[in-house]
């Protein structure tokens, strides 16, 4: 059996993953609770076909770009500074893992406590996790890079000079590619921040969806796709400083100012201090009495649901990607079908998962099903797109078969390691999103975070967010181990590069 597998273990891993997802199905809540999902879907699609562009508020578009540009700039700048000590310092690596394992929305919910609904909250909510992600990826880029220029430096050259003159010139292009990709993610994050109250396009989009103003929602979505689709036109070397300064000027004026100083003090010395400690009772017994119900009634069931959702979504993503990638590959879709396939996958990938999940929940009601659909669509779009590019890069024999034979006996076997690498890489990201979908009503970890915040129990919220971060880090570590075992850890998994060979981290 193993003769057909290029590296032993692909089949085993795939089987185990599929089996785990199957085992999850009976315990997953997959009900459709709405009665007319199709009618609502038709109305939504009608809105996309007949968009109401005059209803789009121009400033919300500007703010969406401004938060994204500044958030990514600050995040990437900090990430670059952290990337230099990243490989050497365990502390830096841990700090970055902590930063990126907390979702932008969780960051925003915490930052709002101190900075209110303000530009600072919006920019920092993007900048903090992105600093952690950028530090990791920049450091990987640095490690992969050519060292020949470094070897000819005179002895005694300082670390900063060495980096600036011997390494940056070689690395800058790839940094720029990755940062541009991060900006695309930043735009999605910025939009989604509107769903919790920041004045980006998500704010009006949420209202429009909620109240069924689908023509307005359609217009907003089309504007957003246009922004993402044209990013290579407006983000150029020369336009970056303009964008950053422009974004800083265009930030929304905050209506009312939070008392940052006192709020910060209250947040750290009161709000997030575990309730028994706050009451002056710091005995282990009382702390355990406080923590135990959080663990047994929230963390454990929430984690179980999060893992179940992520597992099913991962396997559906895999199946989706296998079906979708031929649409964007020359040999399968042909010169006519391929551009259509690409547009489809770019649209799917540009749609933020959170928004997609919100929408599916409106259509299907609060169960795991809409969350699975949203996660799988988005991620299958991304992986399908990348696989398509890899499929085009494969050198085929002149007498290669065509159609299903080519797919099953040549393309897929040759791409399978790459395919697993993409999937395992996205596992952590799917998990992070699964947790956050709780805010929308699926009973994953975010569900309990939302409850804790509604009850103003920030101490509990912080414990739950930390637990979510730990689960994310654990899955990331497990995924890395698997990739090493399968010897696919050196395959490209990022999607930032213009070529498949130089691909970044999703998000």
């Amino acid at each position: 059996m193993r003769l057909t597998m290029p590296v032993p273990g692909y089949r085993g891993i795939s089987g185990w993953f599929a089996l785990a997802a199957l085992a999850c199905l009976p315990v997953a809540d997959l009900h459709v609770t709405t009665l007319h999902p199709l009618a609502d879907l038709m109305r939504l699609l009608g809105g996309l076909v007949r968009p109401d562009f005059p209803a789009v508020e121009g400033w919300s578009v500007v703010y969406t770009v401004a938060f994204a540009v500044l958030g990514v700039s600050v995040g990437a700048g900090t990430g670059l500074a952290l990337a230099i000590p990243f490989a050497r310092s365990r502390t830096v690596r841990l700090a970055c893992a902590a930063l990126r394992s907390v979702h932008e929305l969780f960051w925003a919910l915490l930052l709002m406590q101190v900075f209110g609904l303000s530009a600072t909250t919006g920019v920092l909510a993007i900048a903090l996790p992105y600093a952690g992600i950028c530090a990791k990826v920049y450091s990987e880029i640095i490690e992969e890079a050519d060292l020949s220029a470094l070897r000819v430096l005179p002895p005694g050259t300082g670390a900063v000079s060495a980096f600036a003159f011997a390494r940056l010139p070689d690395l800058a292009g790839r940094f720029a590619d990755y940062t541009l990709y991060r900006l695309e993610c930043g735009m999605r994050s910025s939009l989604v921040l509107g769903f919790i109250g920041l004045p980006t396009m998500g704010f009006t989009l949420e209202s429009a969806f909620r109240q069924g103003r689908y023509a307005e929602a359609g217009a907003l979505l089309l504007v957003f796709y246009a922004l993402i689709g044209t990013r290579r036109l407006w983000v150029r070397g020369w336009s970056v400083p303009l964008l950053v300064v422009g974004a800083a000027i265009a930030l929304p004026p905050s209506v009312g100012h939070a008392d940052v100083g006192p709020s910060l003090v209250r947040f750290f010395t009161h709000d997030i201090v575990p309730a028994p400690l706050r009451a002056g009772d710091g005995t282990p017994a009382s702390l355990w009495a406080w923590f135990r119900p959080i663990l047994t009634e929230q963390i454990l069931p929430g984690t179980a649901q999060t893992l179940i959702l992520a597992q099913i979504a991962l396997v559906v993503t895999a199946l989706g990607a296998l079906v979708l990638f031929p649409l964007t590959a020359r040999r399968f879709a042909g010169p006519v079908g391929r551009p259509f396939g690409r547009v489809l996958l770019v649209v799917v990938r540009s749609t933020p998962e959170y928004m997609l999940a919100y929408l599916c929940l409106q259509l299907l009601g609060p169960s795991m099903l809409p969350a699975i659909i949203a996660l799988s669509l988005h991620n299958a779009g991304i992986i399908g797109y990348l696989m398509g590019r890899h499929a085009d890069a494969i050198p085929y024999r002149a007498d290669a078969p065509t159609g299903l034979d080519l797919y099953a006996y040549e393309t897929l076997p040759r791409l399978y390691g790459q395919f697993l690498a993409f999937l395992l890489y996205r596992w952590e990201l799917i998990l992070r999103e699964s947790a956050i979908f709780g805010i929308l009503g699926v009973t994953t970890l975010g569900f309990y975070v939302d409850a804790a915040i509604s009850e103003l129990r920030l101490d509990v919220a912080v414990v739950l967010i930390a637990a979510t971060a730990l689960v994310t880090v654990a899955v990331d570590a497990f995924s890395r181990t698997l990739r090493r075992t399968l010897r696919i850890n050196d395959l490209p998994t990022r999607l930032s590069g213009p070529q498949a060979a130089a691909c970044g981290e999703g998000g």
Partner: protein, 295 residues
């Protein structure tokens, strides 16, 4: 070299961005009085009512008044707690939460209807449930939606009432599925569409949506009306006196109570506003503790 240039320019941009972020908010001559309200129903109605209130208060108080929309109940409480807003239209429970978090803050005015507010249990016609004076026990086993998690008439009081009527059972145990719709208009839509069979809804929003023709009486109807409890109120931070001068709280209360314009009151679903104090909401503190929503 191009790369270095690009990075250098990025760095300049970052510096500029950092400076602009760090620049402290310029203090104005008269800082605007900023207020918010819990997003308990359709946003268009909220924008209408609070826009009018802002305009009215500005004229009465002689200070700029601004409304900040928020997306959730806790976001309204947070904005009040961290000082972004000085005044808020809270529900009974969010008001209790906010005043607990900000010592010195006061409930100053409530709607005349809020002293004896009610919630309705509503049911989809397919359930066959009809209106009764006793809480219908037949709702057990159905699917059920609350409003927002921190809603008084959509969560706190319904949960308390349910726990009393089904002793020893939590809502999760009484119903086959429990959801949180987020706001009252949405609760009505969800029960009307059959997504949930039964729901708990604010009676004033039911009446407003009913008048607006948004409710199909053949699809959804009221099956039970709750006992009265105190609900919505305007709550103001204690530090407004420092900012706007002594006596500002009374001035604000008088302005709110003095609203007679039906175009302001109607979108609230209130006949007028009346003075109120923190003490009026003490029963809710007990209810909050009993349901475990408050420490």
């Amino acid at each position: 070299m191009i790369g270095i240039g690009r990075i250098a320019r990025l760095a300049c941009g970052l510096l500029a961005a950092g400076l602009s972020l760090a620049a402290p908010a310029q203090a104005q001559e008269k800082p605007a009085l900023v207020f918010t309200g819990i997003p308990d129903q359709d946003e268009s109605r909220l924008v209408e009512r609070f826009g009018k209130v802002a305009q009215y208060l500005e004229g009465k108080l002689g200070v700029p008044v601004r409304y900040v929309p928020v997306k959730s109940y806790p976001a309204a409480v947070t904005a009040f707690t961290n000082g972004q807003v000085q005044l808020a239209w809270f529900g009974g429970f969010t008001g209790v939460q906010a005043r607990k978090a900000v010592p010195g803050s006061q409930a100053i005015a409530q709607g005349a209807e809020d002293a004896a507010f009610r919630f309705y249990l509503i049911a989809n016609a397919a359930t066959g449930l009809t209106r009764s004076t006793e809480l219908p026990k037949a709702i057990a086993g159905k699917t059920f939606t609350f409003g927002a998690r921190a809603s008084t008439s959509g969560r706190l009081m319904p949960e308390y009432t349910l726990r009393q009527n089904f002793p020893g059972q939590s809502p999760d145990q009484i119903f086959s599925r429990v959801g949180f719709s987020g706001d009252h208009s949405r609760t009505i839509q969800l029960v009307q569409s059959g997504a949930f069979e039964v729901g708990a809804v604010d009676y004033s929003v039911w009446d407003l949506d009913s008048k607006a023709g948004k409710i199909d009486p053949k699809a959804v109807s009221v099956i039970w009306e709750s006992a009265p409890f105190p609900d919505y109120q305007w709550t103001v931070r204690g530090d407004v006196e420092k900012t706007y001068g002594a006596g500002f709280t009374d001035k604000l209360r008088a302005a709110l109570v003095g609203i007679t314009d039906p175009t302001i009151l109607e979108p609230f679903g209130r006949s007028k506003f009346i003075p109120v104090s923190n003490a009026a909401y003490e029963p809710l503190i007990e209810v909050g503790k009993a349901t475990g929503l408050l420490d």
